[in-house]
């Protein structure tokens, strides 16, 4: 819940609701991007960005190398599988 997981924004699904599609270790889901957009970063400019995702919200931008390293470590800590299965379950639980 508190660690978060890095993912890459692949498309903006709703400019109005500030929702975007993010791919996290091969799993894709919609997340909210309200916390990472501002005048300098309008939604459309976020596509391709790597972000740290906490419970369905992109909370900060990270660089790609950092993102990959963090994913590696989360994998070792055994956190990735848990996070991904929770993500996949989503609202269908």
């Amino acid at each position: 819940m508190c660690l978060g997981i890095p993912g890459q924004i692949t498309e903006i699904t709703s400019e109005e609701m500030l929702m975007a599609r993010v791919t996290v270790a091969g799993v894709s889901r919609e997340v909210n991007i309200a916390c990472i957009v501002d005048d300098a970063h309008p939604p459309a400019s976020c596509v391709g960005d790597w972000v740290l995702v906490h419970v369905g919200f992109a909370m900060s931008r990270i660089d790609e190398e950092e993102a990959r390293r963090t994913l590696d470590i989360l994998e070792q800590l055994g956190e990735v599988q848990e996070e991904l299965s929770a993500m996949r379950q989503g609202a269908g639980a």
Partner: protein, 373 residues
């Protein structure tokens, strides 16, 4: 455990461990007891145990595993409220998976589900909102818990629900705040902690400023710390360096994620939806002033506490529990009389045994069952 060895053999980890040893050797002269550093956050506790970081540290320092595991500190009375809400026939009760096993005085959410209550695990509060859209005839309650890291997500979800007018969605708000809690730990008379590793992802939201009073008023050095094993070693070294050089300040080891001023949008959403509670009850620590938030009056329609009757009973922790002392570093988990006996991860009596991020569960699961001579 291949990765642990890899980590320990890495040049950086070795160099840091050596530096730490040198500084501690210098500082140790004239000290009657080991230096105590508290990592506040359960995420840090998890990494420390996973990578055996304590074993890399010299005897002159001790890690104290703080209260920063939101699932662990949930009081029984609150779990009882959750169960009561979940047992209402019209309700779909949604929660993060972590909270399912926390014992209440009658049962956990997991047991309530087994007994027929409609309890569903969700990954995100957005998933709970989606359930509310799909089931307009049911009341969907999201159980909001966690520190400032998860607060923006529930605040933004409530704002979205209001924008869309999703009238059958509400939040059962149990969010807790980091700074008043650290203050309570600092103010307790038996506290001996000398310095802090502050939680990285809380800081990502609130920034550096809220921690300033700890260095200014309490004279305890503090380093905002990331979650990787090298982050933690580096931060321990940074705190020690402050002692060594006679400095006492807020430093930010996790700059790559934590902006000095925090996240403006996230703070704005939090302030719009939440206000400080007079006090909040913690498992193991008792009641702490201003340590939680509730929803503002303007959001009453989305507040499960106002929409339904919630009793919020105060149920004392079992007498034999010594969680409070463990959290403050006064005793080690194995010193608690019921550690590993009546209190174990299968059947947790105290807060710190509930989740793998709690200190007692971490000790138990990693085989630290007694003090080794």
């Amino acid at each position: 455990m291949k990765f642990v060895d890899e980590f320990r053999d890495s040049g950086k980890a070795k160099a840091l461990a050596r530096e730490i040893e040198n500084i501690v050797a210098r500082l140790e002269k004239g000290r009657a007891r080991p230096l105590q550093l508290m990592e506040f956050c359960g995420g840090h506790t998890h990494t420390i145990f996973r990578y055996g970081i304590e074993q890399m540290l010299p005897d002159g320092i001790e890690m104290v595993h703080g209260p920063g595991c939101p699932v662990c500190v949930l009081p029984m009375g609150r779990v009882d409220d959750c169960v009561a809400l979940a047992e209402r026939p019209e309700v779909i009760f949604t929660t993060f998976g972590d909270a399912m096993r926390v014992p209440g005085s009658r049962k956990s959410l997991l047991q309530a589900k087994a007994d027929g209550a409609d309890v569903r695990m969700v990954y995100s509060p957005l998933d709970a909102l989606e359930l509310a859209r799909r089931h307009p005839d049911r009341e969907v309650i999201f159980f909001g818990l966690g520190f400032e890291t998860t607060m923006p997500s529930t605040a933004l979800t409530v704002l979205q629900a209001r924008r869309e007018g999703v009238a059958n969605f509400s939040l059962f708000c149990n969010h807790i705040t980091t700074v008043p809690t650290i203050k309570a730990v600092l103010d307790s008379p038996d506290m001996m902690v000398d310095g802090f590793l502050a939680p990285g992802h809380v800081s990502m939201v609130i920034g550096e400023a809220p921690f300033q009073f700890i260095t200014r008023d309490y004279r305890k050095p503090l380093v905002i710390t990331g979650f990787e094993p090298l982050d933690i070693l580096q931060s321990i070294w940074m705190v020690l360096k402050q002692f060594d050089e006679g400095r006492c300040e807020v430093e930010n080891q996790y700059r790559r994620i934590v902006p000095p001023r925090g996240n403006t949008q996230a703070l704005k959403a939090i302030n719009e939806v939440f206000e400080i509670r007079e006090f909040f009850e913690w498992r193991g620590l008792g009641s702490i002033d201003h340590s939680g938030v509730k929803m503002r009056e303007a959001f009453a329609d989305f507040d499960a506490e106002r929409k339904f009757t919630v009793e919020n009973p105060r149920i004392a922790d079992p007498k034999s529990c010594q969680c409070g002392e463990v959290v403050k570093g006064v005793i080690k988990p194995w010193d608690c009389k019921i550690f590993g006996r009546q209190c174990n991860p299968e059947n947790p009596m105290g807060a710190l045994m509930v989740s793998s991020e709690g200190a007692c569960a971490a000790y138990y699961n990693n085989g630290y069952h007694r003090r080794t001579a």
